[in-house]
Protein backbone atom coordinates (compact mmCIF):
# COMPACT_ATOMS: atom_id res chain seq x y z
CA UNK A 1 0.00 0.00 0.00
CA UNK A 2 1.58 3.30 -1.04
CA UNK A 3 2.73 5.44 1.86
CA UNK A 4 1.03 8.83 2.19
CA UNK A 5 3.00 11.93 3.06
CA UNK A 6 1.80 13.79 6.13
CA UNK A 7 0.49 17.26 5.25
CA UNK A 8 0.56 19.88 7.99
CA UNK A 9 -0.49 23.52 8.13
CA UNK A 10 1.27 25.98 10.45
CA UNK A 11 -0.81 29.07 11.06
CA UNK A 12 -0.87 32.08 13.34
CA UNK A 13 -4.38 33.29 14.04
CA UNK A 14 -5.07 36.77 15.30
CA UNK A 15 -2.80 39.77 15.60
CA UNK A 16 0.29 38.14 17.09
CA UNK A 17 3.23 38.83 14.78
CA UNK A 18 5.92 36.80 16.57
CA UNK A 19 6.50 34.14 14.00
CA UNK A 20 9.96 32.82 14.79
CA UNK A 21 8.59 29.78 16.62
CA UNK A 22 6.22 29.00 13.78
CA UNK A 23 9.03 29.27 11.25
CA UNK A 24 11.31 27.03 13.33
CA UNK A 25 8.52 24.45 13.45
CA UNK A 26 7.93 24.75 9.71
CA UNK A 27 11.58 23.94 8.97
CA UNK A 28 11.54 21.16 11.56
CA UNK A 29 8.50 19.56 9.92
CA UNK A 30 10.12 19.71 6.50
CA UNK A 31 13.18 18.03 7.99
CA UNK A 32 10.91 15.36 9.44
CA UNK A 33 9.63 14.59 5.93
CA UNK A 34 6.24 16.33 6.15
CA UNK A 35 4.77 18.68 3.59
CA UNK A 36 4.12 21.92 5.45
CA UNK A 37 1.93 24.74 4.30
CA UNK A 38 3.07 27.82 6.12
CA UNK A 39 0.37 30.47 6.09
CA UNK A 40 2.11 33.08 8.23
CA UNK A 41 0.68 35.69 10.54
CA UNK A 42 -2.54 37.64 10.86
CA UNK A 43 -4.92 34.94 9.82
CA UNK A 44 -8.53 34.79 10.83
CA UNK A 45 -9.92 31.48 12.03
CA UNK A 46 -12.11 31.52 8.89
CA UNK A 47 -9.10 31.87 6.60
CA UNK A 48 -7.25 29.07 8.39
CA UNK A 49 -10.17 26.65 8.18
CA UNK A 50 -10.78 27.43 4.51
CA UNK A 51 -7.10 26.96 3.67
CA UNK A 52 -6.87 23.71 5.65
CA UNK A 53 -9.69 22.24 3.59
CA UNK A 54 -8.28 23.47 0.28
CA UNK A 55 -4.93 21.94 1.12
CA UNK A 56 -6.32 18.66 2.49
CA UNK A 57 -4.01 18.75 5.48
CA UNK A 58 -4.02 16.09 8.20
CA UNK A 59 -3.08 18.54 10.93
CA UNK A 60 -3.33 22.25 11.69
CA UNK A 61 -0.77 23.65 14.13
CA UNK A 62 -1.85 26.99 15.61
CA UNK A 63 0.67 29.32 17.18
CA UNK A 64 -0.30 32.19 19.43
CA UNK A 65 1.80 34.19 21.84
CA UNK A 66 -0.57 37.06 22.49
CA UNK A 67 -3.11 35.39 24.75
CA UNK A 68 -5.88 35.07 22.18
CA UNK A 69 -5.78 31.26 22.17
CA UNK A 70 -8.98 30.81 24.20
CA UNK A 71 -10.93 32.72 21.58
CA UNK A 72 -9.23 31.67 18.39
CA UNK A 73 -8.12 28.05 18.76
CA UNK A 74 -11.60 26.63 19.51
CA UNK A 75 -13.03 28.74 16.68
CA UNK A 76 -10.83 26.93 14.16
CA UNK A 77 -12.01 23.55 15.49
CA UNK A 78 -15.61 24.73 15.33
CA UNK A 79 -15.30 25.96 11.75
CA UNK A 80 -13.72 22.70 10.60
CA UNK A 81 -16.60 20.80 12.21
CA UNK A 82 -19.15 23.04 10.48
CA UNK A 83 -17.51 22.43 7.13
CA UNK A 84 -17.56 18.66 7.61
CA UNK A 85 -13.81 18.47 8.17
CA UNK A 86 -13.69 17.38 11.79
CA UNK A 87 -11.15 14.72 10.82
CA UNK A 88 -8.49 17.43 10.51
CA UNK A 89 -6.61 17.41 13.84
CA UNK A 90 -5.87 20.77 15.47
CA UNK A 91 -3.00 21.30 17.91
CA UNK A 92 -1.74 24.47 19.48
CA UNK A 93 1.37 26.10 20.86
CA UNK A 94 2.82 29.37 22.06
CA UNK A 95 2.30 31.19 25.33
CA UNK A 96 -0.56 29.25 26.86
CA UNK A 97 -1.00 29.09 30.64
CA UNK A 98 -1.51 25.59 32.06
CA UNK A 99 -4.83 26.57 33.58
CA UNK A 100 -6.17 27.08 30.04
CA UNK A 101 -5.19 23.62 28.81
CA UNK A 102 -8.38 21.84 29.86
CA UNK A 103 -10.66 24.37 28.23
CA UNK A 104 -8.73 23.97 25.00
CA UNK A 105 -8.83 20.16 25.20
CA UNK A 106 -12.58 20.35 25.84
CA UNK A 107 -12.94 22.53 22.76
CA UNK A 108 -11.27 19.86 20.63
CA UNK A 109 -7.58 20.86 20.60
CA UNK A 110 -5.75 17.53 20.66
CA UNK A 111 -2.39 18.64 22.07
CA UNK A 112 -0.66 21.74 23.33
CA UNK A 113 3.09 22.41 23.10
CA UNK A 114 4.43 25.33 25.09
CA UNK A 115 7.99 26.69 25.54
CA UNK A 116 10.24 23.85 26.68
CA UNK A 117 8.65 21.24 24.47
CA UNK A 118 11.35 19.75 22.28
CA UNK A 119 10.99 19.68 18.51
CA UNK A 120 11.51 15.90 18.66
CA UNK A 121 8.57 15.51 21.05
CA UNK A 122 6.32 17.41 18.66
CA UNK A 123 7.41 15.36 15.64
CA UNK A 124 7.02 12.12 17.64
CA UNK A 125 3.53 13.12 18.71
CA UNK A 126 2.59 13.77 15.10
CA UNK A 127 4.08 10.51 13.85
CA UNK A 128 2.22 8.59 16.55
CA UNK A 129 -1.12 10.35 16.38
CA UNK A 130 -1.57 11.45 12.79
CA UNK A 131 -2.48 8.75 10.34
CA UNK A 132 -3.37 10.15 6.91
CA UNK A 133 -6.55 8.41 5.76
CA UNK A 134 -6.06 5.03 4.11
Amino acid sequence: MPQRKIRVMVAKPGLDGHDRGARVLTRCFRDAGFEVIYTGCHQTAEQIAAAAIQEDVDLVGLSCLSGAHRALFPRVVELLREKDAADITVIGGGIIPEQDFQALYDAGIKAIFTPGATLDSIVDWIRTNIKPRA
Binding site: T26, G33, V36, Y38, Q47, I53, Q54
Partner: protein, 318 residues
Protein backbone atom coordinates in the same frame (compact mmCIF):
# COMPACT_ATOMS: atom_id res chain seq x y z
CA UNK B 1 -19.16 7.81 -7.95
CA UNK B 2 -19.88 10.13 -5.03
CA UNK B 3 -16.69 12.15 -5.01
CA UNK B 4 -16.66 12.55 -8.79
CA UNK B 5 -20.17 14.05 -8.70
CA UNK B 6 -19.12 16.36 -5.87
CA UNK B 7 -16.06 17.54 -7.77
CA UNK B 8 -18.15 18.35 -10.84
CA UNK B 9 -20.36 20.44 -8.56
CA UNK B 10 -17.29 22.35 -7.32
CA UNK B 11 -16.76 20.65 -3.95
CA UNK B 12 -13.36 21.82 -2.68
CA UNK B 13 -12.81 19.05 -0.14
CA UNK B 14 -13.54 16.26 -2.61
CA UNK B 15 -11.29 17.90 -5.20
CA UNK B 16 -8.40 18.40 -2.80
CA UNK B 17 -8.70 14.84 -1.54
CA UNK B 18 -8.55 13.46 -5.06
CA UNK B 19 -5.48 15.58 -5.79
CA UNK B 20 -3.94 14.12 -2.63
CA UNK B 21 -4.73 10.58 -3.83
CA UNK B 22 -3.05 11.40 -7.14
CA UNK B 23 0.02 12.78 -5.36
CA UNK B 24 0.22 9.76 -3.06
CA UNK B 25 -0.38 7.38 -6.01
CA UNK B 26 -3.40 5.74 -4.43
CA UNK B 27 -4.79 3.17 -6.92
CA UNK B 28 -8.45 4.26 -6.61
CA UNK B 29 -7.55 7.70 -8.00
CA UNK B 30 -7.20 6.30 -11.53
CA UNK B 31 -10.83 5.33 -11.99
CA UNK B 32 -11.97 8.70 -10.62
CA UNK B 33 -9.72 10.58 -13.02
CA UNK B 34 -11.09 8.51 -15.89
CA UNK B 35 -14.64 9.42 -14.88
CA UNK B 36 -13.73 13.13 -14.69
CA UNK B 37 -11.88 13.20 -18.00
CA UNK B 38 -14.90 13.88 -20.24
CA UNK B 39 -15.53 17.08 -18.26
CA UNK B 40 -12.04 18.47 -18.82
CA UNK B 41 -10.54 20.59 -21.58
CA UNK B 42 -12.63 23.71 -21.02
CA UNK B 43 -10.43 25.91 -18.86
CA UNK B 44 -7.82 28.40 -19.97
CA UNK B 45 -4.51 27.42 -18.40
CA UNK B 46 -1.87 30.00 -17.59
CA UNK B 47 1.64 28.95 -16.54
CA UNK B 48 3.78 31.30 -14.51
CA UNK B 49 7.47 30.59 -14.15
CA UNK B 50 10.74 32.32 -13.33
CA UNK B 51 13.68 32.11 -10.98
CA UNK B 52 13.28 31.78 -7.20
CA UNK B 53 12.27 35.09 -5.66
CA UNK B 54 11.22 36.65 -8.97
CA UNK B 55 7.78 37.39 -7.54
CA UNK B 56 5.64 34.66 -9.13
CA UNK B 57 3.37 34.12 -6.12
CA UNK B 58 2.82 37.83 -5.53
CA UNK B 59 1.94 38.24 -9.19
CA UNK B 60 -0.35 35.22 -9.04
CA UNK B 61 -2.14 36.78 -6.10
CA UNK B 62 -2.68 39.98 -8.09
CA UNK B 63 -3.74 38.00 -11.16
CA UNK B 64 -6.38 36.24 -9.08
CA UNK B 65 -7.72 39.61 -7.89
CA UNK B 66 -7.88 40.99 -11.43
CA UNK B 67 -9.54 37.86 -12.81
CA UNK B 68 -12.09 37.93 -10.01
CA UNK B 69 -12.91 41.54 -10.92
CA UNK B 70 -13.78 40.15 -14.34
CA UNK B 71 -15.97 37.50 -12.69
CA UNK B 72 -13.80 34.56 -13.60
CA UNK B 73 -13.53 31.55 -11.30
CA UNK B 74 -9.92 30.60 -10.61
CA UNK B 75 -7.99 27.50 -9.65
CA UNK B 76 -4.32 27.71 -8.70
CA UNK B 77 -1.71 24.96 -8.43
CA UNK B 78 1.37 26.31 -6.66
CA UNK B 79 4.42 24.05 -6.71
CA UNK B 80 7.36 24.17 -4.32
CA UNK B 81 10.40 21.89 -4.14
CA UNK B 82 10.64 18.71 -2.08
CA UNK B 83 13.83 18.39 -0.05
CA UNK B 84 16.03 15.79 -1.70
CA UNK B 85 17.39 14.91 1.75
CA UNK B 86 14.28 14.54 3.89
CA UNK B 87 11.40 14.12 1.46
CA UNK B 88 9.60 16.98 3.20
CA UNK B 89 8.67 20.34 1.70
CA UNK B 90 7.83 23.87 2.77
CA UNK B 91 4.91 24.97 0.61
CA UNK B 92 5.14 28.71 0.93
CA UNK B 93 3.46 30.10 -2.19
CA UNK B 94 0.04 30.25 -0.62
CA UNK B 95 1.27 32.73 1.98
CA UNK B 96 1.23 35.42 -0.74
CA UNK B 97 -2.37 34.66 -1.74
CA UNK B 98 -4.07 34.67 1.64
CA UNK B 99 -6.60 37.41 0.88
CA UNK B 100 -8.45 34.99 -1.39
CA UNK B 101 -8.76 32.18 1.17
CA UNK B 102 -12.44 32.80 1.83
CA UNK B 103 -13.50 33.47 -1.76
CA UNK B 104 -15.46 30.33 -2.65
CA UNK B 105 -14.68 30.77 -6.35
CA UNK B 106 -10.92 30.62 -5.79
CA UNK B 107 -9.22 27.32 -5.04
CA UNK B 108 -5.51 27.40 -4.24
CA UNK B 109 -3.72 24.08 -3.85
CA UNK B 110 -0.05 23.75 -2.97
CA UNK B 111 1.92 20.78 -4.29
CA UNK B 112 5.46 19.56 -3.67
CA UNK B 113 7.62 18.37 -6.55
CA UNK B 114 8.30 15.01 -4.85
CA UNK B 115 11.40 14.45 -6.93
CA UNK B 116 10.09 15.52 -10.34
CA UNK B 117 12.69 17.58 -12.17
CA UNK B 118 10.93 19.74 -14.73
CA UNK B 119 9.70 22.45 -12.37
CA UNK B 120 6.38 20.79 -11.56
CA UNK B 121 5.15 17.62 -9.86
CA UNK B 122 3.97 14.42 -11.54
CA UNK B 123 0.50 15.10 -10.18
CA UNK B 124 0.07 18.49 -11.88
CA UNK B 125 -1.38 17.16 -15.14
CA UNK B 126 -4.16 15.26 -13.40
CA UNK B 127 -4.65 17.98 -10.78
CA UNK B 128 -5.36 20.37 -13.66
CA UNK B 129 -8.06 17.96 -14.84
CA UNK B 130 -9.62 17.98 -11.38
CA UNK B 131 -9.79 21.79 -11.41
CA UNK B 132 -11.21 21.74 -14.93
CA UNK B 133 -13.92 19.29 -13.91
CA UNK B 134 -14.78 21.64 -11.01
CA UNK B 135 -15.61 24.21 -13.65
CA UNK B 136 -12.82 26.71 -13.08
CA UNK B 137 -12.66 29.28 -15.91
CA UNK B 138 -8.96 29.95 -15.45
CA UNK B 139 -6.28 27.74 -13.98
CA UNK B 140 -2.94 29.23 -12.98
CA UNK B 141 -0.03 26.85 -12.56
CA UNK B 142 2.91 28.34 -10.70
CA UNK B 143 6.13 26.36 -11.10
CA UNK B 144 8.94 26.17 -8.59
CA UNK B 145 11.67 28.76 -8.89
CA UNK B 146 13.45 27.48 -11.95
CA UNK B 147 16.84 27.80 -13.60
CA UNK B 148 17.23 27.55 -17.34
CA UNK B 149 15.94 24.10 -18.11
CA UNK B 150 12.85 23.25 -16.16
CA UNK B 151 10.27 23.82 -18.84
CA UNK B 152 7.67 21.12 -18.24
CA UNK B 153 5.13 23.92 -17.86
CA UNK B 154 4.86 24.19 -21.65
CA UNK B 155 3.22 20.77 -21.71
CA UNK B 156 0.40 21.93 -19.48
CA UNK B 157 -0.29 25.62 -20.07
CA UNK B 158 -1.85 27.43 -23.02
CA UNK B 159 -0.02 30.67 -22.20
CA UNK B 160 3.26 30.89 -20.31
CA UNK B 161 4.38 33.96 -18.39
CA UNK B 162 8.11 34.15 -17.68
CA UNK B 163 8.93 36.47 -14.79
CA UNK B 164 12.33 38.12 -14.81
CA UNK B 165 13.94 40.51 -12.35
CA UNK B 166 16.62 43.12 -13.10
CA UNK B 167 20.23 42.56 -12.20
CA UNK B 168 20.47 38.86 -13.00
CA UNK B 169 22.98 38.84 -15.88
CA UNK B 170 23.72 40.50 -19.16
CA UNK B 171 22.66 40.12 -22.76
CA UNK B 172 24.44 36.80 -23.18
CA UNK B 173 22.22 35.50 -20.42
CA UNK B 174 19.12 36.61 -22.25
CA UNK B 175 20.21 34.71 -25.36
CA UNK B 176 20.51 31.35 -23.68
CA UNK B 177 18.08 28.55 -24.32
CA UNK B 178 15.40 27.22 -22.06
CA UNK B 179 13.09 29.53 -20.25
CA UNK B 180 13.70 32.45 -22.58
CA UNK B 181 12.23 30.41 -25.43
CA UNK B 182 9.04 29.38 -23.71
CA UNK B 183 7.60 32.79 -22.85
CA UNK B 184 4.36 33.95 -24.41
CA UNK B 185 4.50 37.02 -22.18
CA UNK B 186 7.53 38.39 -20.35
CA UNK B 187 7.12 40.23 -17.07
CA UNK B 188 9.97 42.33 -15.78
CA UNK B 189 9.02 42.34 -12.12
CA UNK B 190 10.40 44.68 -9.44
CA UNK B 191 10.95 47.07 -12.34
CA UNK B 192 11.52 49.91 -9.91
CA UNK B 193 14.96 48.41 -9.26
CA UNK B 194 18.07 49.50 -11.13
CA UNK B 195 18.83 47.49 -14.21
CA UNK B 196 15.20 47.26 -15.28
CA UNK B 197 15.61 49.46 -18.38
CA UNK B 198 18.77 47.57 -19.30
CA UNK B 199 16.97 44.24 -19.04
CA UNK B 200 14.14 45.60 -21.17
CA UNK B 201 16.61 46.70 -23.84
CA UNK B 202 18.36 43.34 -23.80
CA UNK B 203 15.08 41.46 -24.07
CA UNK B 204 13.94 43.65 -26.97
CA UNK B 205 17.27 43.05 -28.67
CA UNK B 206 16.89 39.30 -28.24
CA UNK B 207 13.33 39.36 -29.57
CA UNK B 208 14.32 41.57 -32.50
CA UNK B 209 17.07 39.23 -33.57
CA UNK B 210 14.86 36.16 -33.50
CA UNK B 211 13.66 35.04 -36.94
CA UNK B 212 9.96 35.71 -37.24
CA UNK B 213 7.28 35.28 -39.87
CA UNK B 214 4.38 37.68 -40.31
CA UNK B 215 1.51 36.55 -38.15
CA UNK B 216 3.81 35.11 -35.48
CA UNK B 217 3.22 36.05 -31.87
CA UNK B 218 5.89 38.38 -30.51
CA UNK B 219 5.98 38.06 -26.70
CA UNK B 220 5.15 41.43 -25.16
CA UNK B 221 7.13 42.71 -22.18
CA UNK B 222 5.15 44.03 -19.22
CA UNK B 223 7.12 46.11 -16.71
CA UNK B 224 5.66 45.65 -13.26
CA UNK B 225 6.96 47.87 -10.49
CA UNK B 226 6.81 47.87 -6.76
CA UNK B 227 4.23 45.50 -5.29
CA UNK B 228 4.03 47.78 -2.28
CA UNK B 229 2.42 50.51 -4.39
CA UNK B 230 -0.89 48.69 -4.81
CA UNK B 231 -2.57 51.07 -7.26
CA UNK B 232 0.15 51.07 -9.92
CA UNK B 233 0.83 47.38 -9.30
CA UNK B 234 -2.82 46.50 -9.94
CA UNK B 235 -2.77 48.64 -13.11
CA UNK B 236 0.22 46.74 -14.45
CA UNK B 237 -1.38 43.42 -13.61
CA UNK B 238 -4.48 44.52 -15.51
CA UNK B 239 -2.16 45.19 -18.46
CA UNK B 240 -0.74 41.68 -18.03
CA UNK B 241 -4.22 40.17 -18.15
CA UNK B 242 -4.89 42.22 -21.30
CA UNK B 243 -1.81 40.67 -22.95
CA UNK B 244 -2.94 37.19 -21.89
CA UNK B 245 -6.33 37.82 -23.49
CA UNK B 246 -4.60 38.94 -26.68
CA UNK B 247 -2.50 35.80 -26.63
CA UNK B 248 -5.59 33.68 -26.17
CA UNK B 249 -7.22 35.29 -29.21
CA UNK B 250 -4.02 34.80 -31.20
CA UNK B 251 -3.91 31.10 -30.25
CA UNK B 252 -7.50 30.60 -31.31
CA UNK B 253 -7.18 32.59 -34.49
CA UNK B 254 -3.91 31.09 -35.72
CA UNK B 255 -4.65 27.42 -35.02
CA UNK B 256 -1.81 27.38 -32.48
CA UNK B 257 -4.28 26.54 -29.72
CA UNK B 258 -4.94 23.19 -31.35
CA UNK B 259 -1.18 22.60 -31.58
CA UNK B 260 -0.77 23.22 -27.86
CA UNK B 261 -3.73 21.07 -26.93
CA UNK B 262 -2.34 18.32 -29.11
CA UNK B 263 1.09 18.58 -27.54
CA UNK B 264 -0.43 18.29 -24.08
CA UNK B 265 -2.45 15.23 -25.06
CA UNK B 266 0.59 13.47 -26.55
CA UNK B 267 2.55 14.13 -23.36
CA UNK B 268 -0.31 12.76 -21.25
CA UNK B 269 -0.59 9.63 -23.35
CA UNK B 270 3.19 9.11 -23.20
CA UNK B 271 3.17 9.51 -19.43
CA UNK B 272 0.30 7.05 -19.09
CA UNK B 273 2.03 4.54 -21.36
CA UNK B 274 5.18 4.82 -19.29
CA UNK B 275 3.19 4.27 -16.09
CA UNK B 276 1.27 1.34 -17.53
CA UNK B 277 4.03 -0.42 -19.43
CA UNK B 278 7.51 0.53 -18.25
CA UNK B 279 6.92 0.92 -14.53
CA UNK B 280 5.14 -2.44 -14.02
CA UNK B 281 7.94 -4.22 -15.90
CA UNK B 282 10.58 -2.62 -13.71
CA UNK B 283 8.54 -3.41 -10.61
CA UNK B 284 8.22 -7.05 -11.70
CA UNK B 285 11.97 -7.29 -12.22
CA UNK B 286 12.59 -5.71 -8.82
CA UNK B 287 10.15 -7.91 -6.94
CA UNK B 288 11.33 -11.17 -8.54
CA UNK B 289 14.96 -10.30 -7.75
CA UNK B 290 15.87 -10.48 -11.40
CA UNK B 291 16.91 -6.84 -11.49
CA UNK B 292 19.43 -7.41 -8.72
CA UNK B 293 20.82 -10.52 -10.50
CA UNK B 294 21.21 -8.60 -13.71
CA UNK B 295 22.88 -5.75 -11.79
CA UNK B 296 25.42 -8.19 -10.38
CA UNK B 297 26.19 -9.54 -13.87
CA UNK B 298 26.66 -6.00 -15.18
CA UNK B 299 28.90 -5.15 -12.22
CA UNK B 300 31.14 -8.12 -13.08
CA UNK B 301 31.09 -6.94 -16.68
CA UNK B 302 29.46 -10.24 -17.70
CA UNK B 303 26.67 -8.23 -19.27
CA UNK B 304 26.01 -4.59 -20.20
CA UNK B 305 22.90 -2.50 -19.43
CA UNK B 306 21.98 -2.11 -23.11
CA UNK B 307 21.93 -5.86 -23.91
CA UNK B 308 20.07 -6.50 -20.68
CA UNK B 309 17.38 -4.05 -21.73
CA UNK B 310 17.20 -5.54 -25.23
CA UNK B 311 16.76 -9.05 -23.82
CA UNK B 312 13.96 -7.96 -21.55
CA UNK B 313 12.30 -5.98 -24.33
CA UNK B 314 12.21 -9.10 -26.51
CA UNK B 315 10.22 -10.79 -23.77
CA UNK B 316 7.51 -8.15 -23.79
CA UNK B 317 7.40 -6.90 -27.35
CA UNK B 318 6.16 -8.93 -30.26
Amino acid sequence: MESVKKICKGDVRAASRLIRDIEDKIPTAKSKIKKLFPYTGKSFIIGITGSPGAGKSTLTDALIAELRKRNKTVGVLAVDPTSPFTGGAILGDRVRMLRHAEDPEVFVRSLATRGALGGLSHAVGEAIHVLEAMGKDIIIVETVGIGQQEIDIINHAHSVIVVLVPGMGDEVQTMKAGIMEIADVFVINKANRSGAKQLHTELMSMLNSAPASPGDWRPPIVMVGNAFEPATFAEKVAELVQKLEEHYLYLRGSGRMLERINRKIIVEINDALRANILEPIIRQLEESGELQNLAQKVKKREADPYSVAEEIAKRFLK
